[in-house]
């Protein structure tokens, strides 16, 4: 089995001390090591945000793209190089705000890849504005009187949009988080791991102690992840008790399975370029 240290990048993380994203990075490195995925066969794609800096800190191929756009880039890379383990990462603003359109459609396509969202319920990199998952009434720099919007529910959204593995982790429980990620990477299809990854600098509401008081593990309550209705019900649980763990998992043919050109063949990127076959295409136009 590979060692975690093989996945440690040369650049040192520049996150604030205590930031939840450290745990996400560690858990991902642990998951990759446990699954013995060689660094050169892993690709980590991100958007823009504190959390999206993660690819720089991991020893693998990386693509630090644009704010909200990790999923299209990851999709293109995965579909052309199906041998890669592709992991997209980013923040809640990145994935559920500006990139929300890509998020639901990537769920629907069920491309075989993993999406890890470091959900700190705030915009970290731009220093503390409201995000799509900021709770109602929470004060941020752009909601000085408290947010008047209700947050969106990424778990329910992913499930209803067609994701086939939907889980939540917490940066305060690294082993459980790594487990969720391993499950996601091993899962054949689009897997979301939404992570409570506290922003210690700008989110004074959803802190480590705040989560510790509330979260419980679905596994401990014998939740059946094959039960869509139950999973959806659980996804709306919020307040005094908040579940983490695997909400829902199902098997559905992936985009790669369904696309005839990808089925069973060699990755597009590794195929030699054939030009002789062009003549046959031209017959329709004579």
């Amino acid at each position: 089995m590979a060692q975690v240290k093989e996945y440690i990048g040369k650049v040192k993380p520049d996150w604030c001390p205590g930031c939840g994203d450290f745990a996400v990075l560690n858990a991902l490195q642990r998951a990759l090591a446990d699954l013995d995925i060689a660094p050169h066969n892993a690709l980590v794609v991100s958007g823009i945000g504190c959390s999206s800096n993660l690819p720089g800190f991991i020893n693998a191929y990386g693509f630090h793209s644009l704010h909200g756009r990790s999923l299209p880039v990851a999709t293109g890379a995965k579909l052309c190089n199906t041998d890669l383990t592709v992991i997209a990462t980013g923040g809640d603003g990145d994935g559920y705000g500006i990139g929300c359109g890509h998020f639901v459609h990537t769920c629907r396509r069920n491309v075989n890849m993993t999406y890890i969202v470091m959900d700190n319920q705030i915009y970290g990199l731009t220093t503390g504005q409201a995000s799509p998952t900021t709770e109602k009434d929470v004060r941020t720099k752009t909601t000085p009187e408290g947010s008047i919007e209700v947050p969106l529910n990424p778990i329910a959204m992913a499930m209803t949009a067609g994701a086939t593995y939907v889980a939540r982790g917490f940066s305060g429980d690294n082993l459980h988080l790594a487990q969720m990620m391993k499950g996601a990477i091993e899962h054949k299809g689009f897997a979301l791991v939404d992570v409570f990854s506290p922003c210690v600098t700008y989110n004074k509401q959803n802190t480590y102690p705040w989560f510790r008081e509330r979260i419980y593990k679905l596994e401990d309550e014998k939740h059946d992840p094959s039960d869509f209705r139950l999973g959806l019900e659980k996804s709306f649980e919020w307040g005094n008790r908040i579940p983490i763990g695997l909400f829902y998992k199902t098997e559905r043919p992936t985009y790669e399975d369904e696309e005839s050109a990808l089925r069973g063949g060699i990755s597009l990127a590794k195929q030699p370029l054939e030009r002789n076959n062009l003549a046959s295409l031209m017959e329709d136009f004579l």
Partner: protein, 586 residues
């Protein structure tokens, strides 16, 4: 000599376009060169549609200046187009739909197309096929070309359908036998015996992309680019590639960058509105140095504009769209055949220089059809990006290593030792973020622009000159206007004017040396553009202190040769009398 323009007009959605297309292919199969031109309404059903095909036994450069034969299915078509038929021209019309008072001006053939269709065949829409029979018989186009084509087209629908269509064709032929021919147009068979393809600009481009090695197409539907995606969705899987229809254009170009980064040649095509959405990603491709091909089949803007009409209005966006210092290559396609080879050159440039290449086409070019000789793959050999050597992979790979030609080796995921992060942040030679290193930013910006030294050489090589190499009256045009300009220059020369045209293929970076050489010694330089402000003229003025004369057309239609000829003549006359040349809008 055959050189004849047919135009068919009628209600949109009633088969005007398909009738025109059948006519076109039959003429091509009869051995002629063809050049179509189509305008159609933005509505799917209703509105006015027309389809024009020019047919000749010589190379065709434009859609022509007038109409020789008008086929009007309804009165609106007659009202709209009769003025384009000069004295002595032919107008055939559906006499069940409307009537035209007798005149000496045009040769009129009233034909009861609708009642022939309903009475003889029992299906109203067969009037289209009957009209083809009329055209075939009246102008002596070999009947078997039409019959063969109908068989090919309808065989999937079963023998009964084929027979009905052949019957309808015969009804048209028979009707002509009962009338007297009063015009002198005769088409017959053309000189060419070798088969040629009949392709639209968009189809030719899509086929060229496959020849270039494109194996992933990502796109979002938009007129007039959609048929590129539809074509590839059908054809790419046959050779192991495929099309992904994304949720929007940002996602489309995102997929292209991801695919290219992962080692596959990929492309997207769109029109102005979608292209606007892509500008941020173009910047990413520039800074991360990722090969990408982005096609913009231009239509009238701004905003939704006139979605089915043509314009050369996106040049500024192509050259300048995006923030920061953002070098990209901008190319423009010239004609249907050039769509095939030009797009291959675009892929090659993207791969060689590891930067985005924006390819400008337009509705006029994308949707017109022409006869094209079977493609010659040897003409454009495939170029692929520079890869790291085993040595480079072992000894600390640097993705953005500085090199004499500013091009660095690009690894691909899966290569051991080649790991790096493609960075949207400013980065150093390795690829590590360097967002606060001021000196490094200058160095890397210089690296990215440094590639232009070589690209500009290519730009100089990829120009074509028509007419005189050192003319008194010069024309510099771009994109789809090449043929029209070339025809106008020929006409001017026949009138004794020293005229010549330069047509660059790469518009950015500009072929400075070639332009400098071409304009030195000229008396006047005309820049015709299908836009309002003269976007290309503005680019030229930035680099040349020269009083370029603009000729702008901004009505959603391409130039005709005569419009350009008129300007050349006017400028030539002004030069002779030393009057100041001035800009014109047509």
């Amino acid at each position: 000599m055959v050189d004849c323009v047919f135009r068919i007009g009628g209600e949109g959605g009633e088969g005007v376009i398909s009738t025109g297309e059948l006519m076109t292919i039959a003429l091509a199969r009869a051995g002629f060169e063809i050049y179509t031109f189509r305008t159609y309404p933005a509505e799917i059903k209703g509105g006015h549609a027309n389809y024009q095909v020019r047919v000749a036994d010589k190379l065709l450069l434009s859609q022509g200046d007038h109409v020789d034969v008008l086929m009007a299915f309804n009165e609106e078509a007659y009202q709209k187009h009769a003025k384009d038929v000069p004295k002595g021209g032919v107008i055939i019309y559906d006499s069940d739909s409307f009537s035209v008072p007798p005149s000496d001006h045009h040769i009129l053939y009233p034909i009861p197309l609708t009642s022939l269709a309903t009475e003889k065949i029992g299906i109203k829409l067969t009037k289209n096929i009957i009209s083809l029979g009329v055209l075939a018989a009246l102008f002596d186009v070999p009947f078997e070309k039409f019959a063969g084509l109908l068989k090919d087209r309808f065989k999937k629908k079963g023998d009964a359908v084929v027979q009905k269509n052949l019957q309808a064709l015969q009804v048209g032929v028979d009707y002509v036998k009962s009338m007297q021919k009063r015009d002198s147009i005769r088409i017959g068979s053309g000189p060419r015996t070798a088969k040629e393809l009949v392709l639209s600009g968009n189809e030719s481009l899509a086929l060229g992309a496959i020849a270039a090695g494109c194996r992933l197409y990502a796109g979002y539907p938009i007129t007039p680019a959609t048929d590129i995606m539809e074509f590839l969705a059908k054809e790419l899987p046959k050779i192991g590639g495929y099309v992904i229809q994304t949720e929007d254009e940002i996602s489309a170009i995102g997929c292209v960058l991801g695919a290219s980064f992962a080692g596959t040649k990929a492309m997207t095509a769109t029109s102005g509105p979608g292209f606007s959405l892509m500008t941020e990603m173009i910047g990413l491709a520039v800074v991360a140095e990722i090969p990408a091909v982005i096609v913009d089949v231009q239509r009238v803007g701004p905003s939704t504009g006139m979605p089915t009409k043509t314009e050369q209005g996106d040049l500024y966006l192509a050259v300048y769209g995006g923030h920061g210092n953002c070098p990209r290559i901008v190319m423009a396609l010239n004609n249907v055949e050039d769509c095939f080879y030009g797009i291959q050159r675009a892929f090659n440039l993207a791969e060689e220089f590891q930067m985005p290449v924006i390819v400008l086409s337009d509705q006029y070019l994308g949707h017109r059809k022409a006869t094209v000789p079977p493609p010659d793959l040897a003409k454009v050999p495939i170029i692929s990006r520079r890869k790291p050597t085993p040595d480079e992979l072992q000894k600390g790979y640097r993705r953005y290593k500085s090199t004499p030609d500013f091009i660095s080796p690009m690894s691909m995921p899966g290569m051991e030792g080649g790991g790096y992060v493609a960075e949207g942040l400013e980065h150093d030679e390795v690829g590590y973020p360097a967002a606060s290193d001021h000196e490094n930013h200058l160095k890397l910006t210089q690296k990215r622009y440094g590639k232009f030294i070589e690209v500009e050489q290519v730009s100089n090589e990829m120009c074509r000159i028509h007419g005189d190499e050192h003319p008194e009256i010069a024309v510099i045009g771009w994109g789809s206007s090449e043929g029209v300009i070339r025809e106008a220059v020929q006409m001017a020369k026949e009138k004794g004017i020293s005229a010549g045209a330069l047509h660059p293929k790469i518009l950015y970076p500009l072929p400075l040396a070639r332009i400098r050489d071409f304009i030195s010694g000229t008396k006047a330089v005309i820049i015709p553009e299908v836009n309002y402000t003269g976007q290309f003229a503005t680019l030229l003025r930035k680099r040349f202190a020269y009083d370029f004369i603009q000729l702008n057309k901004c009505v959603g239609l391409p130039f005709t040769p005569k419009e350009i000829l008129d300007k050349i003549e006017e400028v030539a006359a002004n030069v002779r009398t030393s009057r100041q040349p001035h800009a014109t809008r047509v």
